[in-house]
């Protein structure tokens, strides 16, 4: 089975028609447990998320700050396995046929399962894209090859410090969307995004990269609006979303309400 849908393409087309940018929340799959995680992701959709960016818990997440590390630890201490993560996503996909679902994870989870099996399992669960945080372009070819075979879109990261050669290569190889890094460092709401200069966006346009979604340090509607004003196709917010989960673990109903209204607020900043 391969994935022939182009949910990202459809999403960007529809948003363009409505003159909106995309708001994409990130949460850790399996945080804090299977059932709550399914409810959390459904709440994000109910709040108005245009797409979902979902992490898989990993023991050694070198690109993540403390908020997302803690989310991994919560899931792993509840014995969440990769199989559970795919099952959670399958349930979300069953409820929401059209929303683009992307994975953001680390290479060892993919390599241990086998690249081909991992991507096939992702397709079967209803995943549209995979971004591997510790696979730079230089190591990406064998992942991209399997992505093409299975119909998964391999998402590439465009960091602010990249060379022109890197941007050009992203232009050739990117599919779905491009994860535009708003700043150096690791994930976290502690350090705010720096909205990219128009030169950076111009460069991305010049090299014809897939539509850029800005991430890292996005936690307020103002930052979402600024990202879209600067030319990004949308914004991704991870740590701010995960913080709501962390702060409301003892009251899941309140947590789901807060997540929903957070997403609604952030989404409303995407109207141009």
């Amino acid at each position: 089975m391969s994935n022939s849908a182009d949910r990202y393409g459809d999403m960007f087309e529809q948003l363009d028609a409505k003159n909106e940018g995309a708001f994409v929340p990130f949460v850790m799959v399996g945080d804090p447990d299977i059932q709550t995680s399914v409810n959390i992701i459904k709440a994000l959709v109910a709040g108005g998320a245009d797409a979902l960016e979902l992490g898989f818990p990993y023991s050694d997440p070198i690109a993540d700050g403390p908020t997302i590390q803690q989310a991994s630890i919560r899931a792993l201490s509840n014995k969440i396995k990769t199989d559970d993560c795919f099952e959670i996503i399958r349930q979300v996909r069953e409820a929401h046929a059209d929303i683009p679902i992307g994975l953001l994870l680390y290479s060892n989870l993919v390599l241990k399962r086998g690249i081909e099996k991992f991507y096939q399992d992702a397709v079967n669960a209803g995943v549209d894209s995979i971004l591997i945080a510790d696979v730079p372009l230089r190591e990406a070819d064998r992942f991209i090859a399997i992505a093409k075979q299975t119909g998964i879109k391999q998402i590439l990261i465009a960091p602010p410090n990249a060379s022109d050669e890197t941007f050009a290569e992203i232009g050739q190889k990117s599919q779905g969307y491009t994860y535009l890094l708003g700043r150096a460092g690791v994930t976290g709401a502690e350090t705010a995004v720096s909205i990219p200069a128009s030169e950076l966006i111009d460069k991305l346009t010049q090299y014809k990269v897939a539509p850029p979604l800005l991430g890292f340090g996005i936690s307020t509607p103002v930052q979402v609006a600024d990202a879209i004003k600067s030319g990004a196709a949308g914004a991704i917010s991870g740590s701010a979303t995960v913080n709501i989960i962390a702060e409301n673990l003892s009251q899941p109903e309140v947590m789901l309400e807060k997540l929903k209204s957070f997403v609604t607020n952030m989404k409303s900043a995407t109207y141009k």
Partner: protein
């Protein structure tokens, strides 16, 4: 693209966020330039000789081996300034830091030996050092924390994960990805993303080169085997590098078997691990069926690491080097034997290599020559070993 080979067979590579690629490329370029620059080499060699105390001695053991026709030599990295081989490559990388115009150094440390080496090199060269250390390790290795601070380094406790070396590496990489403009990540072993395994090997290869010259002078021939302990594998690759193309010399790496490789409490990544990525390199690692990294264990903090440098993984696969393991108990015995028979207190790490070499010496044919890399001295381990052995030591 890379100028140096970034892989050893399938092993190694650069499994890091795209964000770090420019910093790794810059490091590779400055290393290539420095290796060709006679001024850099002269400065490095000068520091090794006049500051660190190279060449280190090669000692023929007198009382340790029962068969008088088997010779066991010790390459005395324990005599190096700082107390272990670590000083070699730290001086090299500190010079590279200055050459890149960076003023800050980030490092990780487990037992504290790499942290101490980093602190001394940064004190010497006027660099600002911050060193990540697992909170648990800081407790276990309090004297080394004090040493680092005494030499002006900032020691930052790491509470995330298991609070040991692997988590300190994670934290150092996170710091580096925010501060690569002015800070160099001075990685402490022959692991991590390219170009670190190559740089660390080249800055330790004098261990093997000196060994070759010294053994030729004393014996007129190459040794039959060189033996070194392997955690990440920096002292071992430094010892092996000059002998890889000498098929008559057996290269033997000794991993920590902890409480036994049949238990979960060991650090034998090559012996019992499987292939995967940790800290930027593809190698043998300790992991579960999902690819979550498992915690390693060893009585010696310097070997307590759930992965191994990628070149060791390669040397093992092609059969050029052999990797064996030694338990805590065997290492502790060797620790005491060397102290009692030769008046040398070895590091617990090096005691693993020694323990295996002693087993080899027992069974060796007459005329066999074995060299053990005595990678560090045991001062740092005294309190720990005392707490384990207690009153078992008698006069």
């Amino acid at each position: 693209m890379n100028h140096l080979d970034s892989k050893f067979g399938d092993y190694g590579g650069m499994y890091v966020p795209e964000l770090l690629i420019p910093a790794l490329d810059q490091l590779e370029q400055v290393f290539i330039d420095a290796q060709k620059d006679p001024e850099f080499q002269a400065e490095f060699m000068g520091l090794l000789k006049d500051y660190a105390g190279r060449p280190t001695a090669m000692t023929l053991t007198r009382n340790l081996v029962s068969n008088p026709k088997v010779k066991l030599y010790l390459k005395r990295e324990d005599l190096l300034h700082g107390g272990a081989h670590k000083t070699n490559q730290v001086l090299g990388q500190a010079l590279l830091t200055k050459r890149m115009g960076k003023t800050e150094v980030i490092a990780e440390t487990g037992a504290g030996q790499h942290g101490v080496a980093t602190a001394l090199a940064c004190a010497l060269m006027g660099l600002k050092a911050r060193i990540y250390m697992g909170a648990k390790d800081m407790e276990r290795q309090a004297p080394n924390v004090f040493r680092m601070r005494l030499m002006g380094a900032k020691v930052i406790p790491v509470n995330s994960g298991s609070g040991t070396l692997k988590d300190a590496v994670n934290e150092a990489m996170r710091d580096w990805s925010a501060n690569y403009d002015k800070a160099h990540y001075l990685l402490g072993t022959a692991a991590g993303p390219h170009p670190f395994p190559t740089i660390v090997r080249e800055f330790h290869r004098m261990i093997g080169e000196e060994t070759r010259a010294q053994i030729m002078e004393k014996e007129g021939r190459l040794p039959d085997a060189v033996v070194a302990c392997v955690g990440g594998g920096s002292n071992a690759i430094g010892m092996f590098a000059d002998f890889i193309d000498e098929p008559s010399v057996r290269l033997i790496g000794v991993e920590p078997a902890g409480k036994g490789v049949h238990t979960k409490e060991h650090g034998a990544a090559i012996g019992k691990g499987t292939k995967g990525v940790l800290h930027g390199a593809y190698s043998y690692i300790m992991q579960d069926n999902d690819g979550q990294i498992e915690e390693s264990y060893s009585v010696s903090a310097g070997l307590d690491y759930p992965a191994v440098g990628p070149q060791h993984a390669y040397l093992s696969d092609i059969g050029r080097a052999e990797y064996v393991s030694i338990t805590d108990e065997e290492a502790l015995n060797a620790f005491q034997l060397l102290s009692r028979k030769e008046g040398i207190i070895p590091a617990l790490e090096s005691s693993h290599a020694l323990a295996h070499a002693l087993n080899m010496a027992d069974e060796a044919e007459d005329g066999t020559i074995i060299v053990v890399n005595l990678s560090g001295r045991g001062d740092k381990d005294l309190a720990h070993v005392h707490s384990i052995l207690g009153d078992q030591i008698h006069e």
